[in-house]
């Protein structure tokens, strides 16, 4: 599936991504949006793992990100740990919570699972708001210090570059994960859970692992969000955020790494570009959600594939079997 040229292009793109912030130094507005896209890339990788590759829709995703963020803030402010220690601890903790929350819902299928996750998310938002001891409730926590290296706090382009590194790492790690036996098990569970079980895959264990990994991405993204934006409140991690992260993957193309990237790059900037018209942002997101379900459930990637197929079929004056072979050659990979 990955030819040499593709790999080379990926490396090139990754390097360019990390260097991009330095090119954007002068325009803080664009740089900020790019920074948010990076954070959302980390998030969409995690969501893609569970929604795209395992086939479950976890609406408590933002809540888990919030747990990591609040935990990290606590560890840095109250316990005095550095960001580089607090973030992994908080993310692992959030991943543990993610597994606990995912555990009982593992026996629920489809809609009931999603509903359960929505309930859990609602509960988390309520907890964030009404147990202000660690979260400061609706008022939120501000002035979150950025991470520092060697005593110097990261800022500007260096901070953005750090985000870009995380984003690139997230994408590569998911691409790698999918090719491991664990990743193959994820896909098997998505395709047919019963069959997966029959050919020796421990489906429950696979789902638990998926939950754990997904929650790691959620948590890391949450910590990055906290230090980049500098301010968190329960609304930063509520159901609407979960839904919009889901939309990034669904719109781009679930189960496709490129799809998730495309979806994120296109959709993540929108709320910040439409920032003054917040109602419009909601209407647009809602409309996209409806459109994706009704008209293109496979996202942009599926749409492109089917257009390609139709174009090739029309252009071909040869029998369909040959066209199929030509088409596959042209495509080069599955």
């Amino acid at each position: 599936m990955k030819g040499r040229p593709f790999l080379a292009a990926a490396v090139l793109l990754s390097t360019a991504t990390v260097l991009l912030p330095f090119a954007l130094q002068s325009n803080r507005f664009i740089a900020f949006i790019v920074g948010m896209v990076m954070i959302h890339l980390v998030w969409s990788c995690g969501m893609n793992l569970l929604y795209g590759f395992v086939g479950l829709m976890p609406l408590m995703y933002a809540g888990i990100a919030g747990i990591a963020a609040y935990a990290m803030i606590y560890l840095t402010r109250v316990e005095g740990l550095s960001f580089w220690l607090a973030m992994p601890i908080a993310s692992l903790g959030a991943a543990g919570v993610g597994v606990l929350l995912g555990l009982p819902s593992l026996r629920l299928r489809g809609f009931y699972f999603t509903l359960c996750s929505l309930v859990i998310q609602t509960g988390m938002t309520l907890a964030f708001t009404y147990f202000p001891r660690y979260t400061n409730g609706d008022t939120g926590i501000g002035q979150i210090a950025p991470p520092s290296i060697g005593g110097t706090p990261l800022a500007g382009a260096t901070l953005d570059a750090m985000l870009a590194l995380f984003a690139v790492a997230a994408v590569w790690s998911v691409a790698f994960l999918i090719r491991t036996p664990t990743g193959r098990r994820f896909i098997a569970v998505r395709e047919d859970e019963v069959l997966a079980e029959a050919v020796g895959i421990d489906v429950v264990r696979t789902k638990v692992i998926a939950f754990f990994l997904m929650s790691l991405y959620a948590g890391v993204g949450g910590c990055l969000y906290a230090v980049y934006v500098g301010f968190v409140s329960p609304r930063a991690f509520d159901i609407l955020v979960s839904l919009s992260i889901w939309l990034l993957v669904a719109f781009g193309g679930r189960g496709s790494i490129i799809g998730a990237i495309i979806g994120t790059v296109i959709l993540a900037p929108l709320p910040y570009l439409l920032h003054d018209l917040s109602g419009l942002k909601d209407v647009l997101t809602g409309a996209l959600i409806v459109a994706v379900i009704l008209w293109f459930p496979g996202g942009i990637v599926e749409g492109v594939k089917s257009i390609r197929k139709r174009v090739l079929a029309k252009a071909a004056t040869v029998p369909p079997a040959h066209a199929e072979a030509v088409h596959r050659k042209v495509e080069g990979r599955a």
């Binding site: 489809g110 929505l118 509960g123 839904l243 959600i289 379900i293």
Partner: protein
């Protein structure tokens, strides 16, 4: 019992009944849609609040008479349901995973409506209320209660009884129940399944709108009520069992009383927490609900 305590008790009782009946009504609407069409309507809370907001606009901003406004909104809700069904809902009737598709679509709908609220109603006020339909106060023991609230209780109770009777005895109600119980069998018996879907959706929407109107008459509300109501309605439906009006009534009343009692001792949010836990518990132990066969 001392008078203050009696007052508190009576107050809790009326609030419990009032809230409980309204909850039961909205939960019935959601339950009908889910049981019959497999349509979990996540936007039910938005419809609920939208109905109340429109009534507020008609009365407080445009000066309509309350009775006219109420009837108009009910009619509009029916028309809105017909249009929505035509444009959106019917496209998924044949989808294999339609319950999750509908759930996500209605989540999208929720966001659309909530966005619209964002650039319209959120600018007017924080709290809204529909002016009373009838004036005057009645005393229940030492406790005064507005006649308006009593009227709301009466209307809500009548509506639920009507639903109950309709499903038992009326031809259409029986058709809805038949489809709910066994789609294929109903189709074989000649029931126009998609037509029943249509009716169920319109009925469910109008009931939800009615619930919103009644709530707006009895209490002041804000935009945040939409989401809370959605969650509550779902919780009631899941706990009571999808498709069961009786379940919606009983569980609705329980939740109503819970909220009434909890509000006295702590914040209403605690009640919402309780609903969530109840819903979670049922989902994990007996997903078909308490009242299912």
């Amino acid at each position: 019992m001392s008078e203050p305590n009696l007052l508190v008790l009576l107050s809790m009782l009326t609030t419990g009944i009032l809230l409980g009946l309204i909850f039961a009504l909205v939960a019935s609407g959601v339950s009908i849609m889910y049981g019959c069409i497999w349509l979990p309507n996540a936007s039910n809370g938005q419809f609920f609040v939208l109905a109340a907001l429109l009534a507020w606009s008609l009365t407080s901003q445009l000066g309509w008479r309350v009775s006219a406004a109420l009837i108009a909104i009910l009619a509009v809700s029916g028309i809105f349901a017909i249009i929505l069904e035509y444009v959106l809902i019917r496209r998924l009737y044949d989808s294999p995973n339609r319950n999750i598709d509908y759930f996500v679509v209605t989540l999208g709908l929720t966001q659309i409506i909530s966005g619209i609220f964002g650039f319209t109603y959120s600018h007017y006020s924080d709290q809204y209320i529909i002016p009373p339909l009838v004036e005057g106060v009645t005393f229940i023991g030492p406790m005064p209660t507005t006649n308006n609230r009593l009227l709301v209780i009466a209307v809500a109770a009548t509506a639920i009884l009507a639903l109950f009777a309709g499903f038992r005895f009326h031809r259409i109600g029986r058709a809805i129940r038949a489809v709910f119980q066994n789609r294929e069998a109903a189709a074989l018996r000649g029931v126009d399944v998609k037509g029943v879907y249509r009716i169920a959706f319109i009925l469910g929407t109008v009931i939800t709108a009615l619930g919103g109107l009644l709530y707006g008459m009895a209490y002041s509300f804000d935009l945040g009520l939409a989401w809370t109501m959605s969650v509550t309605a779902f919780a009631i439906m899941i706990v009571g069992g999808p498709g069961s009006i009786l379940g919606a009534l009983v569980v609705g009343l329980v939740f109503g009383f819970t909220q009434a009692v909890v509000s006295v001792f702590s914040s209403p949010t605690m009640a919402t927490f309780a609903y969530l836990i109840a819903m979670l518990a049922i989902l994990l132990v007996k997903p078909s609900g308490v009242f299912s066969r």
